[in-house]
Subunit: 452 residues, 2 copies
Amino acid sequence: MGSRRTFIRNSACAATAISLSPSGMLAFTPSAPAGTLRVGLIGAGLRGTNHLNNLLQREDVQVTAICDTDPGRIDLALKLVREAGKGKPATFGEHEHSYRDLLGLESVDAVIIATPWLWHTPMAVDAMKAGKYTGLEVSAATTLEECWDLVNTHEETGTHLMLLENVNYRRDILAVLNMVRQEVFGELVHFRCGYQHDLREVKFNNGQQPYGGGVEFGEKAISEARWRTLHSLKRNADVYPTHGLGPVAAMADINRGNRLVSLTSSASKGIGLHNHIVAQGGPDHPNASLKFKQGDVITTTLTTARGETIIVTHDCNLPRPYSLGFRVQGANGLWEVDGDRIYIEGKSEPHRWDAAGPWLEQYDHPLWKKYGEYATGSGHGGMDFFVLHAFVQSALLGEAPPIDAYDAAAWSSVTPLSEQSIAGQGEPQDIPDFTRGKWIRREAYDWIKDTY
Amino acid sequence: MGSRRTFIRNSACAATAISLSPSGMLAFTPSAPAGTLRVGLIGAGLRGTNHLNNLLQREDVQVTAICDTDPGRIDLALKLVREAGKGKPATFGEHEHSYRDLLGLESVDAVIIATPWLWHTPMAVDAMKAGKYTGLEVSAATTLEECWDLVNTHEETGTHLMLLENVNYRRDILAVLNMVRQEVFGELVHFRCGYQHDLREVKFNNGQQPYGGGVEFGEKAISEARWRTLHSLKRNADVYPTHGLGPVAAMADINRGNRLVSLTSSASKGIGLHNHIVAQGGPDHPNASLKFKQGDVITTTLTTARGETIIVTHDCNLPRPYSLGFRVQGANGLWEVDGDRIYIEGKSEPHRWDAAGPWLEQYDHPLWKKYGEYATGSGHGGMDFFVLHAFVQSALLGEAPPIDAYDAAAWSSVTPLSEQSIAGQGEPQDIPDFTRGKWIRREAYDWIKDTY
């Protein structure tokens, strides 16, 4: 496995040229010999095929293997590869552990794991042990032990793990990160973020369509409702913290000169999912008698070593428009995504908000300036292109990724620790230092760089 | 004292007619005999004279006494009374306890206390003991013992206390309360609120003007900076919770079928006041060496007996535009003041916000419809008229006020309890049941009623 990583690094170091195909797709043309990253996809559900579509648009990637236990998804994935004229990947999926056969392939340099949450850490651990540069979908880990598994396996194997947190690459987020780095906000003080997304039609469907049309979950449902909803039924926790916390952690240099220290968490009553079942399926539907443990709005307050506070919200069971609720506040001013506004002392009119737009344009991130038009259509407003771009670049160079095993562990630890805090009526919880002290000298990731 | 209260009640019960003076001022004309409330004003600073101006516009009020230890403020207050052609109140202020002489007057039925915070509870306790219907400015109490003092004195004397929380009467707040009562949001789940107001120029001045122009506080400053800033220097606590919590407590029926149960609180680093001193006064100014204990952003999460959560923010030391950050969220949808938006399932387009304006107009509160034009100019967007209106009405009727001693105690307890929680790294704190169990049968206040 070591030789594979060395090969990737050597070949990728020669990669300096970039060209764009006439179709507008990003086409990466490495110098000879080939600097192609050979990717195995583990999980070909909605998220996995979204990644697959983006992988197929890259000249610097070859999809060499695909694993899914659902033959229908394998067929669909192969069709996508065929239509892209990108060869025929090996396929796996006979049983739940067939992904290990994929990991045994010499023809796979890196894997992307997009499977139900309970499989994330076991698969990522196996992938790192197999020496495959590992891209892992959110959320990474569901218990504190799993958080440590990711870190320990990374350290034992020397194999890198990247958490594929796409929101870190949202255009406004990278612009605000740019503003943070240029100290527009001054010394940072306070952050807010969260996952506020009405997922009721994601958590329940009719077994025919992925979103809604019924109030089934588990074995009677398909897609996410088949596995995701159980986390709401059984756990009173912020089970999905990273879309909010990830971008904030990058701005706050978490694990790189700063770290998460402690948290408290509180949950409101949980009525949204029950109400939805009754409204859509009637009061006599078997699921109407279930007691969902998850509170509808879960609020977690984190403290950092540098003295900032971060409020993370989980709000997915009630009717509401989508918002990740970002706020970035420092000594000189703040950005709030709700209201789309920025205030910077000495620049803004005193006590009056500026519209955020012109500020975000002014500080538009170099990556978005360079690739923005090619990101269009990649999914989730373009950010899926960038998270994959970072993954592929890091893997080809054999470098540590922007969002690594320590980040995956620290961010994901909010799930079990919020659960413990809620169970303890808000009892504060220490957040482990997953870097084992190295955060004091680990340098901030250079989000501005673009190695191509 | 009992006879005085009886008199007020009897005379006020006859008060049924209302007329408006040609000048547009609200003129209350009671049936004979006179139903005039004779008010003593304790504290004639900026806030006190604001109340005075509004009192002087009411035909149902006579200001019979004024107390302030600053002779200049007494002179100004007398000038205002004289210009209104409203007689000559008795004045007091020779020493700090001269207010007790005011409380001894037979010619005072009710008092309004608008003094520095540390005087609030002692004065309110004395006023209730003197049988004066007591209006108390926010914040009411600074320690848990003081919260109990307010409740115990009210219960021992039978005298009513109204906390003069004006934000409870803001037009949008009362419209949203109206929506809550009409169950537009459905079962309530979650609230956000807070005091987010850049007070740096309130906390520091040059001793000549009330706002800014220098970085002095305490004895070298005037107005609020003379006493308020010490609370930021010495206490890491949400010292001003009620502008946010008050309106939410009314919507959530706190102390009336519901109660505040527990809280956790976290404070960010505190750099804003120091930065301000250095920026405005230079690094060598003596105040630049002070360590302000108060964190710049303090986040308190409260839980209620009915299972809601309430997030209260205190954010007063950094550059930022004003916002009380309200959010009211229930089973059917939510209102957010930031972004000025409402979403109601089945009414709003799915997953899209409505502008709040039309909703707030549709549910405009009867009080605002009736008196809105007369509230103009009363201060703070008109809400000062309404809080005073409720106080005068309640006092004339001898009735319990909308915001009573239990509310004053419960809301104010956030200050000492947030301080304890912060000192304990977020340790949860039980909130005392100041009603001693009576919250289970106390009825919701009818904010819709208007007794005139």
